[in-house]
Symmetry: C2
Subunit: 643 residues, 2 copies
Amino acid sequence: MISPALGGAFHIEAIHPLVDGGRFPVKRIVGEPIEVEADIYRDGHDIIAAALLWRREVDRDWQRVPMQHDVNDRWHGQFVPCQLGRHLYAIEAWTDQFATWRHGFELKLNAGQDVSLDALEGAELLSRTAASDQVGAVIQRQCQLFLESGDYQALLAPELMAAMALAQPRPDLTRSPALPLMVDRPRARAGAWYEMVPRSQGRTPGQHGTFRDCIARLPDIAAMGFDVLYLTPIHPIGRTNRKGRNNALAAAPGDPGSFYAIGSAEGGHDAVHPELGTIEDFRALVAACRTVNLEVALDIAVQCSPDHPWLRQHPNWFRRRPDGSMRFAENPPKKYEDIVNPDFACDDAGSLWNALRDVLLFWVAEGVSIFRIDNPHTKPFRFWEWLIREVQLRHPDVIFLAEAFTRPKLMKGLAKLGFTQSYTYFTWRVQKWEIEQYLRELTGVPERDFFRPNFFVNTPDILPFHLQSGEPWVFKARLALAATLSASYGIYNGFELLEHRPIPGREEYLDSEKYEIKVRDWDQPGHLKSYIRDLNQARRRHPALLQTNDLRFVEINDEHVIGFIKRSLDGRNTVGVAIALSGEVHDVWFPLGDTLVEVGGELKPPVAVENLITGERLPVQWGGLQLRIDPARDPALLFQCLA
Amino acid sequence: MISPALGGAFHIEAIHPLVDGGRFPVKRIVGEPIEVEADIYRDGHDIIAAALLWRREVDRDWQRVPMQHDVNDRWHGQFVPCQLGRHLYAIEAWTDQFATWRHGFELKLNAGQDVSLDALEGAELLSRTAASDQVGAVIQRQCQLFLESGDYQALLAPELMAAMALAQPRPDLTRSPALPLMVDRPRARAGAWYEMVPRSQGRTPGQHGTFRDCIARLPDIAAMGFDVLYLTPIHPIGRTNRKGRNNALAAAPGDPGSFYAIGSAEGGHDAVHPELGTIEDFRALVAACRTVNLEVALDIAVQCSPDHPWLRQHPNWFRRRPDGSMRFAENPPKKYEDIVNPDFACDDAGSLWNALRDVLLFWVAEGVSIFRIDNPHTKPFRFWEWLIREVQLRHPDVIFLAEAFTRPKLMKGLAKLGFTQSYTYFTWRVQKWEIEQYLRELTGVPERDFFRPNFFVNTPDILPFHLQSGEPWVFKARLALAATLSASYGIYNGFELLEHRPIPGREEYLDSEKYEIKVRDWDQPGHLKSYIRDLNQARRRHPALLQTNDLRFVEINDEHVIGFIKRSLDGRNTVGVAIALSGEVHDVWFPLGDTLVEVGGELKPPVAVENLITGERLPVQWGGLQLRIDPARDPALLFQCLA
């Protein structure tokens, strides 16, 4: 309910930002100003005042900043959260009785009316105001001054007006409900993700890769400029009903099985697969990542292989069939005999939920503060809302990425209830119109306030049709689109090597490493590593690319070239992007329209642009740019606007 | 808060209709279907069901109707309230476990899988369902049938599916908050109002008119087709500081004073001015109105003359100045010495509020169920919210019209907190673009759900500039605009006589009858009575004109002709309107676009139109109409679309 409680003297309405009337938290980044607007009004013509209140959920006292009136009863205020975690904000409004009196008094004075009684009424307001500090001193002094001298000016002194604004009684104070706000760290909004299958990082064919092999890969990955190293599940893999290569029902001897069949005699969600190494090796990997500015993200899949210790320790967490047999996961008529799902509604749900929370807390203690959650859309909303809250109350820096490829409202619902970031439909959006339409949705209100996209060009499960040709320009264009449209984006290893062999007719990888061990030559000719490096370096240098809210598409008269302009929150960094969506050479006009660049507090139209990759400069002519895009060289042009 | 309580298994969002997240009631008319929509979804792929709940606020039990899924998790349902007053509605969602089981079972069956265990699980669901009535009988019978025969068809019987949909347990039932709804009578939405100053209804110049004189006027007013006879205040008028003609500070001997200076030795808000007659005479007027299908509306102004009995009976309801003198109403530097306002925040506010409520209840007992409230925007919101609720709980048929000409959000705020109808800016909207813009706002969401406009062409306080020329075509055009754009509209007596003498340079009447007694010749040549009659008869015959929601402007290639199409709620009545906004002859093309008319359940494009006044028919050609408008004859063309 966004309006004041019944009986409030004020209406406080149309508050922005706000998600579902305050049911779900708005998301913002620590250290960045938060602008809050609302319609605030009461009856009559008295002068009113309003304040914006805010505090951390765990704190007791509110902080306050005054709000300003814009026009037509619209007010705004701003504050900057300096700590992470759940916050609350609210709006207070009250009548400034003294300012109202003062206004009327001056009008009468100017109209030459007898104001002796009005003056006494003003003095009455002063005497009714109890304040001890200097503010109170000012009020008492001016009151005295008037009573002794009878000089009206004593009542009109500006410092008295200010003192009364602070100290006078506020009998009709009305407060909006407290509204939730989640303050995250910058990585929650922006980052370049590299998804890696640890067991495929070895050098010897057929040999299981280890955490040590992963460490050996770090310089290469860091050099590409990635921020997050995201590992597919690292837990012991079950043997019962283990899947074979290409998802075959029966595994051949030596098949490693799917790392999503979690749990074996060696342990469950809080253990590491022995062939990858020990927990110490994992710690070494986390430490090594830190040294090259990489952060480890873990893939958490809430599902168990039939060999998971929980099945013995907590049989009541799992449902059985009428004949007493285990109920395997299924999506009729499909069956997944290598997986059983815990029953979130079982009689012992409390201990199950706690155990899952403790799994996350275990990995947080091991230095992991980013979790990519597998298929959250098949588990209860209330579980996620509880789990994310439980973890973030203790560790407000933890980031949750929802790997949900499902119906739009369900994906948004998960973002609302607390997921920091979300997978998106970008992976399948290829036409100019559908990319523009989708980005307008994600950057619009209210989506922009709760849904943070993370654009993946591919995943272990998805080799989209448009990549199956293997043409370098397509890989580059998809990379550039993901890296520039969205502040967070990611690739799944092999993309940089243009891997594109599908299961015929499907959008899936042939010989997927979900079911086998791969060994790759990471320096294979034609790789895109330097292209990726250039893009990621451009991102790091240009804050305009590290946010997904301020995005404006420009009219480009070529349906196979998409163009847009992004501006950093502080307005000081403005970047233009043009990307070819087809392979031939494009000569296009890129209109800069009313684009303005902030220079020393002033907004000016750009006079030139500088290529983010080549550094080459181009003057702005006739309010735009004549661009030539040769996808064979580079399908994307990124430039900064200079004024 | 429009989403489910924390922990709900479902998200129930984007509910429509809804005003400020449920803080304020949605407004609808008794006997008309209410369509409710919402996004409803939960995790996973189970089959879900939803119901729309509704009840009167005073009732205990909910009524339920099933909701249907449209697309993309959007659901809708419909109910028809058959009683007046405050209602509540809510949405419930739950998982249809049996339908989900049945769906999977069929898929496996068709895939030729062994479903023996699944069948037993289905039977388990049946046995877990406790129902006694016939529904229960069906369930037990089919369960038996299967257990004895082992025949799967017993579990797939359609009647079993229906029975389980009704009777099965709903462990994850989620309910939205209960949302408020006000159900009014049709007059709340549509009516033609005639505002009349009772004391000016006499026949002898200089002589005070009476209720009996008013009764004599009824046949004439009824013949014009008005629905509501709205009387300016009828209470005793104060003598102290009485205003003279044209609002002169001092009244000359014999001046009747302003009827807004309410209260004298003869009584206050629950008394009638002796010169108008007795309370019996008033009852006679109310009764006489009934016989000609007119309903009396009273003008309630919460203000007192210095002679009002309340000043003696309840001195503590009024504020005094430091010298003990009475505090008169003022709007600095303006003073209103003939009026004092009660202090809604006085220590004895409770008894003041009750007294004001009792004034309304008194007049309700006298047969009045429409109140036009004077200047509600200068009294506390919480007072009105309380007062309207108090009265409508006892008399849900009572209609409150807010006479607030103030800032837009304040006017909307009053409508939200409970006023049935509202005055508008129509009185000053003359250009085509500003009329279209304003109507789009009023007929848009959410305004259409809580703000019901009542368009007045003039009032005792407002003689708009555009009427001051006195040209008949302007009066006709304004009348036609008000009567066709808005379901509720009104005129203030004298309009039908083209009265237009202003205070020079002001939008006010010269020699306003607010301060003197007038006697008019109601049959004066050139009067508009037959024109008004035709318009009101057309309104009564055409439900499309008795609603303000379904309104679509059409492109007319003449900035001085405005055109629009209205459709009745049931779609069976479609009316087109074209009105000239300048005096010359206009030849315009009126495109009917994709207008459709409902004929026997079918939607068809119109083939002809029939003039609502002349009955003349015109065929539709090339999807539109070629119209000639001669304002000298009639600036408005109203026609019904026929298919």
